[in-house]
Amino acid sequence: MKLIPLPDLGPRPRSEFDYGGELRRPPMGADTALWAAYVFNRQGAPGLLREWWYHRPTGAWYLFERDTLADRFIRHIPVQDIQYELPSADPAV
């Protein structure tokens, strides 16, 4: 079973995780074709992928860069590096 290297807790078995899929950023305001491509298409080619992994026992999300060809976790990505601003919502009432 694959071990996933958590930055604070060390390696933990894959069975403790939910896979959260590839890190993707919605193309806000894109036309329908581009939006549909974002929603429905995935790049399946093996290679370096940034992925979300949810660690169930601690309820925490992690982002890793993984070589999906060699199935090797390359590095942990701090979530600050990928954050993006929501389109401005109404001011809180």
Partner: protein
């Protein structure tokens, strides 16, 4: 005719006892420690089994768990391998796949048909006419297969357990033992596994009379026994390699899932047979098989043997046979005996004739070897039959080459390639932390194997210490050839088997190559080479050689196959997992039990389906519904997801996650919370309640509680929001007090002002109820005045008991999940996942009011904007007449119009309030319309015409949820 030898130095037998067993009614005898095959062979029994396809007689081959033609069954097992299964008293065996028995197999004549049954025969012969295939299928199925499954099997539960080590060494031969010892002496925790019942490996069967080996053997075995850092696991197969050195160690008692820091594969080699006419007759065996027979079981392989050799190992085996009293009639060397070590000379000095550059043309005999014909090899692998010689013998031993037992190296992602010099596939590049040592790494000399093992162990220790390994895996590799490149002879009569599992002859592979299959992986699938029970352990290497030569390719171009786990077949009861389903119980579970609840599974929860006896199920459910509508009911809703969302950005988060606007929910109020995914499909619903400017309390469906919490956390991280999320699902209990009397009962237990103005519908309050701190929400799921009361887990039972006791005056009655489903159906409320599926949008579900497209963003907004005008399905309500007596209607029945599927029923049940069947169906939009017919096909094929009606079915104005009605009633 006993073939038992005097006591051998390292034999596995306990000579103090005898063990009797039977094979198809005939009695046999052996010693404890014998395997089935060795005991039979010792008794002079040469016919051990029959081949899979042609039912040819077969004997011993390897004695290494690859002799798949000596396969037996008894009452419990279908695949008893004679070459490794120990005999036990009273064992009753019969040979597998032998109609009429081992000695009188009725299918023996099939071999004569072999010229017709060419490779690909089945694919081509039964292809047309198509209508005959079921007939042929029956014929083939009856003829094929190995063993009959006992369908009255006993359930066997075998536990799995977990273990770990820093260095896992696979194979306890000289290299494995040395590697384990060196690693342990370096401070590592080591597990040393070997599939045999004793450690020692080839030291104890191939180096028995070697003086150098003697001291090595004693030293290694004693040191391993004494070292506390080495755990020895014999009888254990390292079944496969999984990510990050996760290895199932298959012991006789079950599987130990093992996490190894590093792995040293010292699994050695699999000896490969030569291919010549009749190379499968009983009496033809691998030289290493003969050595195992002598050394482990003290059984003489034959009286008079002819040896075919292509390496030093063959000459060493020859000398072992001489020591075992076997008369060697000749040695045929595929190459040049003068190029071998002194062993060839030693053999000549014993007076054994040695023929250089000779190959066996054919073996003679019908049920066993009676002779062998050898001939000089001339160019291109052809034999000069004019110079052939015949020898009478009852055994032919082959030592012509090897294939690596490299299965785990392949599985670990290792790259292997063919080394022309030693004639063997060897590791070229191995992943970090994986090492090969000894013969699997192409190291043959005993002293070199030990050096190579130390090298591998040192590298493993370096990696464990965080250093870069510096060892050179090529340093000790042999420089001599140990495998003939063409141990194969064509023969006009064929029966020169490449694969004895599947009875594939040389010609079959040549035909397959001629058909255009140019890679071993392709030829494997077409010809089935390597697909039998031994998985090509004795076939693949020769198949690769045949294909490479036929196509003029190199071995590397031809490729090698990656054998999947498991290395040896494992028992299903060892592989099977146990059903292990954990139920979560609500804080009120004991209350439900006391009230006579019948439980059902709801996700991982156990929830009351209804209260009362199964015989009265329907009556009880209807009574529960009536109690809620007319009096007072209470249901445990602790299973709902309960999430606290706190912080300055809490409103922004919820606004972006749910389809309705959440930023403008007023303090003290709740709002319906529907979430969709990026494809616009409904994933969950619940309630968002606002307790303060930046304090929200969110409920979710039972099944989506964990996922909702997970998703909220993900978005918080992704959007960099200042929010804290607490999952209180298991920490809080909740109950819904519902019915016209709910306010009156609640008023006696709390100081909270329950008047409609002070605590309106959809309000949320924090107050004490019966002295217990609680959150109360006015909800409308079941469509009556009702309060959802959330309290700490530990207080829930107390509050429930109090409500039940004080509610007695109002006829309070607990109701279960089924009553709740009917109550909500009467109100036309959907259940996510039942009335919606993996494609349902809020527009299809008839909830356009729940989608605020004007918001700048929420998950799925842009998709819903596109989908809204294209909505093609609609969830509609339907009803049947009060006097309906037709076939039973149930969920998932299809809606059929004009012979086409136009939708399906998502919910249907009897409405106790309305007195007839009601339901919801997701149908194509053109069919939808109030009072339109809804043709439903029942399970018996009849069409029932329901009528579409408006929803909610009950109290469409929602008056029942309002207080004034209740006040009026009270007056």
């Amino acid at each position: 005719m006993s073939c038992r030898l005097p006591i051998q130095p390292f034999e596995w037998l306990d000579r103090h006892q005898r063990v009797r067993f039977t094979l198809e009614g005939r009695g046999f005898e052996g010693y404890p420690g014998d395997c089935v095959s060795s005991a039979l062979w010792a008794s002079g029994q040469r016919l051990l089994g029959r081949s899979f396809k042609y039912h040819r007689p077969r004997g011993l081959l390897s004695l290494a768990n690859h002799d798949i033609n000596a396969l037996y069954e008894n009452a419990d097992d279908t695949h008893i391998r004679g070459d490794v299964t120990p005999i036990s008293a009273g064992l009753q065996l019969s040979a597998t796949n032998t109609p009429g028995g081992l000695w009188h197999d009725r299918m023996r004549w099939l071999g004569r048909l072999s010229p017709m049954l060419r490779v690909g025969f089945y694919y081509k012969a039964f292809h047309s006419p198509r209508r005959l295939f079921p007939f042929w299928e029956g014929v083939i199925r009856r003829a094929a297969g190995l063993g009959k499954v006992n369908t009255a099997w006993r359930r066997q539960v075998t536990p799995k357990w977990y273990t770990h080590c820093e260095v896992l060494v696979i194979g306890a031969g000289p290299a494995g033992m040395q590697a384990a010892l060196h690693a342990a002496e370096g401070g590592a925790r080591v597990i040393l596994v070997d599939e045999n019942p004793h450690i020692g490996g080839s030291l104890d069967y191939a180096w028995v009379h070697d003086s150098e080996a003697a001291s090595i053997r004693v030293q290694l075995k004693q040191a391993i026994k004494a070292h506390p850092g080495i755990q020895v696991m014999t009888g254990t197969v390292a079944g496969g390699w999984y990510a990050d050195q996760w290895i199932p160690l298959c012991t006789p008692d079950g599987i130990a899932k093992t996490r190894a820091g590093t792995m040293i594969v010292a699994s050695g080699l699999l000896e490969q047979p030569a291919v010549f006419h009749n190379n499968d007759l009983p009496g033809v065996m691998l030289a290493s098989g003969a050595q195992r027979l002598v050394a482990r079981y003290a059984v003489q392989p034959c009286r008079r043997a002819l040896l075919l050799v292509a390496n030093d190992e063959g000459y060493r085996a020859a000398l072992d046979m001489v020591a075992a009293g076997v008369e060697l009639v000749a040695v045929a060397d595929l190459g040049d005996p003068d190029a071998r070590s002194a062993l060839a000379d030693e053999l000549r000095s014993e007076g054994v004739p040695v023929f250089a550059r000779h190959m066996i043309h054919e073996a003679e005999g019908s049920d066993g070897v009676t002779g062998a014909v050898i001939a000089p090899r001339i160019a291109d692998g052809q034999l000069d039959l004019s110079a052939s010689r015949r020898f009478a013998c009852d055994g032919i031993l082959m030592s012509v080459g090897w294939a690596p037992a490299a299965h785990l190296l392949y599985q670990a992602g290792g790259k292997l390639g063919y080394d022309e010099r030693i004639g063997q596939i060897v590791p070229r590049e191995l992943p970090d932390g994986v090492y090969a040592a000894g013969r699997v790494n192409g190291v043959f000399a005993l002293a070199d194997q030990l050096q190579d093992a130390r090298r591998a162990a040192a590298d493993a220790l370096a990696v464990l210490a965080g250093h870069t390994p510096k060892g050179d895996p090529l340093r000790w590799r042999s420089r001599d050839c140990h495998s003939a490149d063409w141990p194969i002879a064509e023969h006009p009569k064929g029966k020169n088997f490449v694969d004895m599992d599947e009875d594939l002859q040389l010609r079959d592979l040549l035909d397959a190559a001629a058909e255009g299959f140019d890679n071993i992986e392709l030829i494997k699938r077409f010809s089935t080479v390597g697909m039998g029970p031994s998985q090509g352990k004795h076939a693949n290497m020769n198949a690769i050689r045949v294909l490479a030569r036929t196509l003029g390719q190199t071995i590397d171009q031809t490729g090698s196959t990656t054998a999947r786990p498991f290395y040896h077949p494992q028992r299903l009861d060892h592989l099977a997992g146990r059903r292990f389903r954990v139920h979560q119980r609500s804080a009120l579970h004991e209350q439900h039990v006391a009230a006579g609840a019948m439980f059902m599974e709801a996700g991982h929860w156990q929830r009351p389906d209804y209260y009362g006896s199964p015989a009265e199920r329907e009556d009880q459910i209807r009574a529960e519904v009536r109690a809620v509508r007319n009096g007072l009911g209470i249901i445990d809703v602790s299973t709902l997801g309960k999430i606290e969302v706190l912080g300055p950005d809490a409103a922004r988060l919820l606004d972006a996650v749910y389809t309705m606007r959440m930023t403008n929910v007023k303090q003290g109020m709740t709002r319906y919370a529907l979430s969709v995914d990026e494809t616009g499909v409904i994933v969950d619903d619940g309630i968002v309640g606002r307790l303060g400017a930046d304090r929200f309390y969110v409920t979710t469906t039972t099944s989506h509680a964990a996922a909702s919490y997970r998703q909220l956390g993900r978005y918080t991280a992704e959007w960099g929001l200042n929010v804290r999320i607490l999952n209180r699902t298991g920490q809080l209990a909740a109950m819904n007090l519902a019915g016209p009397h709910s306010r009156r009962l609640l008023a006696t237990l709390t100081d909270l002002d329950l008047s409609e103005d002070a605590f309106p519908y959809l309000g949320i309050r924090e107050a004490e109820v019966a002295g217990i701190p609680a959150r109360l929400m006015r909800v409308g799921f079941v469509g009556e005045l009702g309060y959802e009361i959330h309290v700490p887990y530990t207080c829930a039972a107390e509050l429930w008991q109090r409500l039940m006791a004080d509610g007695d005056d109002y006829g309070i009655r607990p109701f279960g999940v089924e009553a709740q489903r009917r109550l909500r159906l009467e109100k036309g409320h959907i259940i996510v996942g039942q009335d919606s599926d993996g494609l349902t949008t809020p527009y299809e579900a008839g909830m356009p009011w729940s989608v605020h497209l004007k918001k700048p963003f929420f998950v799925g907004r842009q998709t819903l904007e596109v989908l809204q005008p294209r909505t093609a399905r609609q969830l509609v309500g339907f009803a049947l007449p009060t006097n309906y007596t037709g076939p039973e209607l149930c969920e998932c029945l299809l809606v059929i119009a004009d012979g086409n599927i136009r939708g399906r029923v998502t919910s249907v049940s009897y409405s106790p309030t309305l007195g007839h069947l009601i339901g919801l169906a997701m149908i194509d939009k053109p069919l939808a319309g109030i009072d339109q017919p809804l043709p439903i096909r029942t399970t018996d094929g009849r069409i029932v015409e329901a009528r579409q009606v408006a929803t909610p079915f009950y109290d469409p104005e929602g008056l029942r949820q309002r207080a004034d009605l209740q006040l009026a009633e009270a007056v």
